[in-house]
């Protein structure tokens, strides 16, 4: 079937297509975006009518994926780790309903926070929802486990969580494809009450989910994805989850220590398998990307066995992504002589592009709000979060998608005047609209600035659901038409924009200022 050089993300996409995918649902988020983009670019996907349009947010994506599964077809839902927080209600309850067509949920974690607010570990969500979790170590495994994930999902009638991290998502290697499977036919669930989680029915579903757990554990033992590789030196045993396995293999190499290894890619992990492995060796080193998920389960509370090493005893750092160097230190191996970074090397943080509309919006806002003093601007997730850095120093919060609007409302309720939200267009339609409705209903004194560049900029310029709809949405939600102001953030309009902002900052009610000018990057793309 041929070999391809693919990013980990792309390998997942190709794996899903070859497994007979009928639709992918997603909201862009680093490092998961390229999965959906690959399917959008795929000619085969287009010819087979595979759905790949973006969703408004991860929750709507998760629900649409569940709906496609209800109708008997295979669906994949993709998001970054914090997106799973947004989708959590649907995700956890999909564990309760179970699935009809195969449903694979991909969550791309970002340890070291290269492009995120936190480094939460999605494996906890899998455990929370009591569904299987797969964690590939390589691009080939990303392809293979996606295919296996669909099979597993249909066999157990459960959604399957596929967990990857940034390094795998954004690293390329050769992937060998398998056979292509056909899509499922449209087919209603055998039990038309399966998806009704009324308490009386939900209690039955929950008992069934609980009963399934032991079968999931057995599947993890038999799948071959949690496999032991023997080693002659039993003073230490390595438990390596997902990508961490590669780092051990890298540093152990040909001349390194030959310890037994338990490679883990399938959760829940059988306690029996872990017990058996730990008994064979004097000490255990747990290598995992993200939180000490397996390590914590090994330690428990009563058993503080010193034989376990990992992120919790300082053998490895508690935070940040792993690297071959950190694993080398954990193994007590000698480090190569180290060069240092010369002191003259300065940090080069990301910055807003030259000509970016957010710059002019912030310049106007900074001037308009200057008389009120600092500390009154709540913001959100997007390129415009860079407004927190000099020279702008324009915002005071960045918490989660949509939080700018509702935090500004809460602060206004507390008496803060003015209380301002700065949110991007795509973030607004993702999770800002409902908060705006809260503010409208209570006539809260907030000024919401939607910095509308007509794209989802930070993730590379995906289309935004908000484009050409913002005024209508705000009117529909009930913002008074005279307090919906559309401005063009250009330097030549600076004085006028400052004047409009000042007017709305003084208004004791909800105003929305839509600062509309297209993203300079998408504009360039259209031109070329």
């Amino acid at each position: 079937m041929g070999k391809l050089v693919l990013l980990g993300d792309e390998a997942i996409a190709q794996g899903a297509l070859d497994a007979g995918l009928s639709g992918v649902y997603a909201y862009p988020g680093t490092p998961s975006t390229e999965i959906t983009e690959y399917i959008q670019r795929s000619r085969a996907a287009r010819e087979r009518g595979v759905h790949s349009d973006w969703s408004a947010n991860e929750k709507t994506a998760m629900e649409a994926g569940l709906g496609m599964s209800y109708a008997g077809k295979r669906a994949m839902v993709c998001m970054k780790h914090v997106g799973l927080n947004v989708a959590a209600d649907a995700f956890v309850n999909a564990g309760m309903t179970g699935v009809n067509g195969g449903l694979v949920v991909v969550s791309a974690d970002d340890p070291s926070m290269h492009s995120s607010q936190n480094e939460q570990d999605s494996r906890y969500y899998g455990k929370f929802a009591m569904v299987p979790v797969l964690e590939p170590a390589s691009q080939q495994e990303a392809y293979d486990l996606t295919r296996y994930g669909f099979e597993l999902s249909e066999r157990f009638s459960l959604p399957v969580l596929l967990r990857i991290t940034t390094r795998l998502a954004h690293s390329r290697s050769v992937v060998e494809r398998g056979e292509e499977k056909a899509q499922n036919e449209l087919k209603l669930p055998g039990d038309l009450k399966q998806f009704i989680l009324l308490p009386s029915l939900a209690r039955k579903r929950y008992k069934s989910l609980l009963r399934t757990q032991e079968h999931l554990i057995a599947e993890g033992e038999q799948s071959g994805l949690n496999r032991e590789e023997d080693g002659a030196d039993r003073r230490l045993g390595i438990i390596a989850c997902g990508l961490a396995y590669n780092y051990y293999r890298e540093v152990a190499g040909g001349s390194g220590p030959g310890y037994p290894v338990l490679k883990i890619s399938h959760y829940p992990v059988s306690p029996g398998l872990l017990r058996l492995f730990v008994k064979k060796v004097d000490q255990v080193l747990v290598l995992e990307e993200g939180a000490p998920f397996v390590e914590e389960s090994l330690r428990g509370i009563l058993d503080e066995d010193p034989a376990i090493q990992g992120r919790m005893d300082g053998t490895l750092p508690r935070d940040g992504e792993l690297s071959p160097g950190l694993v080398r230190v954990a193994l007590g191996m000698e480090q190569p002589p180290e060069r240092t970074i010369p002191e003259i090397v300065k940090n080069r943080p990301p910055a807003l592009c030259k000509g970016c509309s957010h710059i002019d919006t912030y310049n106007a806002l900074n001037e308009a709000i200057e008389p009120s003093g600092p500390g009154r601007v709540f913001s959100d997730i997007g390129c415009y979060t860079l407004g927190a850095l000099p020279p702008y120093n324009a915002i005071n919060s960045c918490v989660d998608m949509g939080a700018s609007v509702t935090m500004a409302k809460g602060a206004a309720d507390a008496g803060l005047r003015p209380s301002v939200a700065v949110i991007g267009d795509s973030t607004f339609t993702h999770s800002g609209m409902t908060g705006l409705l809260d503010a409208v209903v209570e006539k809260s004194a907030v000024t919401v600035i939607i910095s509308d560049n007509s794209t989802t900029g930070m993730t590379g310029g995906q289309p935004s659901h908000a484009t050409d709809r913002l005024v209508a949405i705000c009117q529909g939600i009930g913002v008074e038409p005279e307090h919906i102001r559309v401005i063009n953030p250009l330097r030549k309009h600076h004085d006028e924009n400052v004047r409009i902002m000042k007017q709305e900052l003084e208004y004791e009610g909800v105003s929305v200022i839509i600062a509309q000018r297209e993203c300079i990057q998408t504009l360039k793309k259209v031109k070329s």
Binding site: T30, R167, S171, R172, I344, K346, R348
Partner: protein
């Protein structure tokens, strides 16, 4: 055969194109490949790097271990120094001379290049000037690719083929410009 290369630069300077060309050439030659990229927020004018590993044996880690990199290939001189902890004792630092100064406190050129000269195996290429003479400063990255080819033991013909694949869609003129940049980089490296 095993080569570990860190590609360095600033978002938008085209280091992923260098990576893609080497990657294509390597896979065509039947070598194994791993190439870790930086996507997302850092691409907005920030420091970016890519770990590129090619080998005739399977490769485990997507990241190059500290102290074992064969070459830092950089499109910007200060960025070439950021990854020094990865460079092996006899590794090469190959960088363009053209600075990209978009931050306050950018080091003065004298101390910058004096730090670069402290690396025993270093080469500074006037990639920007060479590219401009060829007709576009945009191909500075491909000049750097050419400058690295000989030291990495990758055939120019295979790289030419890779450039054809990468730029074919943009027309023959663009392909020829890139190939000229590749050859000019190789020449500059040999003469330097």
């Amino acid at each position: 055969m095993k080569k570990d290369v860190i590609l360095a630069g600033v978002g938008g300077q085209g280091i992923l194109t260098i990576a893609a060309a080497i990657g294509l050439a390597a896979v065509e030659s039947g070598l194994h490949l791993k190439q870790a990229e930086v996507h997302g927020m850092s691409q907005r004018g920030g420091a970016v790097q890519s770990h590129l590993r090619i080998s005739d044996l399977p490769i485990s880690s997507d990241l190059i271990p500290e102290g074992s990199c064969d070459m830092i290939l950089s499109v910007e001189p200060m960025e070439s120094l950021r990854y020094l902890p990865f460079l092996s004792a006899d590794g090469w630092l190959v960088t363009s001379s053209k600075t990209f100064e978009n931050i306050p406190g950018y080091p003065d050129k004298k101390s910058l290049f004096s730090e670069i000269r402290k690396v025993e195996n270093h080469q500074v290429i006037e990639a920007y000037d060479i590219a401009r003479e060829l007709g576009s400063q945009k191909v500075s990255n491909i000049v750097m690719l050419g400058a690295a080819a000989g030291k990495l033991g990758i055939g120019l013909e295979q790289l030419e083929e890779a450039l054809r694949l990468l730029f074919g869609r943009k027309g023959e003129e663009v392909v020829q410009l890139n190939i000229a940049a590749l050859l000019a980089g190789d020449k500059a490296s040999r003469e330097g």
